[in-house]
Symmetry: C2
Subunit: 276 residues, 2 copies
């Protein structure tokens, strides 16, 4: 079932490239054109069948029915300004950035049929070598429409993610950023800080607990700096609340009494149960 005749994906990294693979596998596109700042990425994407052809310039968006912006956040915003006057009428544009407020406010003003999307399907293994068409299956995709969003465009984008197997959650960009500050950006900030705190000589005396808690500290530094900065206020709030919890644990530890410590850990156990 072809949903869009011509799809252009700008940024053929982990998410963009995997989207190409999945769109083609599900036969949702007439053709998929890919563009990438690094020529070797789009060449690789073509080689593995994630895109049908490599776009030679941004002019390629001119007759696109869907444009997917799958680059780091600052580049998404920059690209929007550069493509907005090239799009044909009715062309839908989505992004897949990890924070939404800044992107949605800028892109909604520039592009009539813009919709912010955030598939929670990333990984610490960014880039073209880790493409998987199945990463969206069973994952959550958050869509952040505004009051002005065209219902036709929204339905079509919902259908797209549905066909890729994602469970759709509709949130305002503001709510999205508040939630993700806690559930994604905070864990990343802690993982980066945790691995930084471990003396190098101790690294080899470790097991699964350090490996799992720091897995995401391998995440791309440039990509994540932009995510952190684009959601700065919410992340600072999340960090403050985390620090209150950490201080409570530290005080219980300093007290030397087991009871308050057990009580903190039991509450954590119960909260964690609800994540499953």
């Amino acid at each position: 079932m072809i949903l869009f005749n011509k799809i252009v994906i700008i940024g053929t990294g982990l998410i963009g490239g995997s989207l190409g693979l999945a769109l083609k596998k599900q036969h949702l596109a007439g053709c998929v054109i890919g563009l990438s700042r690094q020529r070797k990425n789009s060449r690789r994407a073509k080689k593995v069948g994630a895109i049908d052809a490599i776009g030679s310039s941004l002019e390629v968006v001119a007759d696109a029915d869907l444009v997917i912006l799958a680059t780091p956040i600052d580049t998404i915003i920059d690209l929007a300004g550069r493509i907005s006057n090239k799009l044909k009428k009715g062309c839908i544009v989505i992004d897949v950035g990890s924070s939404k407020e800044r992107i949605v406010s800028k892109l909604s003003a520039l592009i009539p049929n813009f919709l912010g999307c955030h598939p929670l399907a990333g990984s610490e293994k960014s880039g073209i070598t880790n493409l998987q068409d199945g990463i969206f299956k069973g994952s959550i995709c958050i869509i952040t429409p505004t009051a002005k969003t065209n219902p036709y465009a929204l339905n079509k984008v919902k259908l797209l993610w549905n066909k890729l197997g994602a469970k759709i959650v509709i949130l305002s960009a503001k709510k999205h950023d508040q939630a993700l500050a806690f559930t994604s950006h905070l864990p990343h900030a802690l993982a980066f800080s945790l691995i930084s705190a471990i003396p190098e000589r101790f690294l080899k005396i470790s097991s699964g607990s350090l490996r799992d808690t720091t897995r995401i500290s391998s995440s791309d530094a440039n990509l994540w700096s932009e995510i952190f900065l684009s959601n700065r206020a919410n992340l600072l709030t999340a960090l403050s609340i985390f620090q209150i919890k950490l201080t409570a644990l530290k005080l219980a530890l300093e007290s030397g009494n087991k009871k308050p410590l057990v009580s903190i850990l039991v509450s954590a156990n119960k909260k964690r149960e609800k994540l499953k």
Copy 2:
């Protein structure tokens, strides 16, 4: 190859029970007797073949060749006082606790052939229902002898862990606790605090990053309170160093400049590379 004729395991939870399974699978014991505070645990351990028989009281250690203390830390210390005068000459006693200084100083004074051991093979899934004979294969087992350790006992215990497939690391109890404060106790403290900081309504809007960074916050509250308290000074040091790193990230974030943030994240990426 029978290494010990009679082995008594006190505490048949995840580590104790899995040890029983592994010892029997490798035919390293003439017989394995299990004791557990909760009768249902030892019954279950017998049912799954982790032990040959259930000990009716601590008197069962009287003719043991190896006693394995596999309970939470405070209980290990308590048990040592209660069994030390019941052991036959030459009986080797090991524990599998997650901190070593307190245990080794107390138990070495009480039991001539005591050796502190810490197999880095635990899991957030404690208890008898998660036994696996293979959890020691390829894992690290830290052994913490003292100047007074009997070399014969040390060699026999090394051979035991070797036969179970563990890679042995010899450390002083002090070094062990300094290292593990960073590589295990700190990640646990952060995971407990992280899950505590997440507003419950956001839990469902999350992905693998929160799941992995908080996996170990399901760890047993009583067990971990005792681990934290028994390694309090080292853990407080590790927490302070972590907080310095987190503050650096926070300041970079507050500055709004990408460059210092990227630099912190790139260093973290490089450190994480060394963990593999």
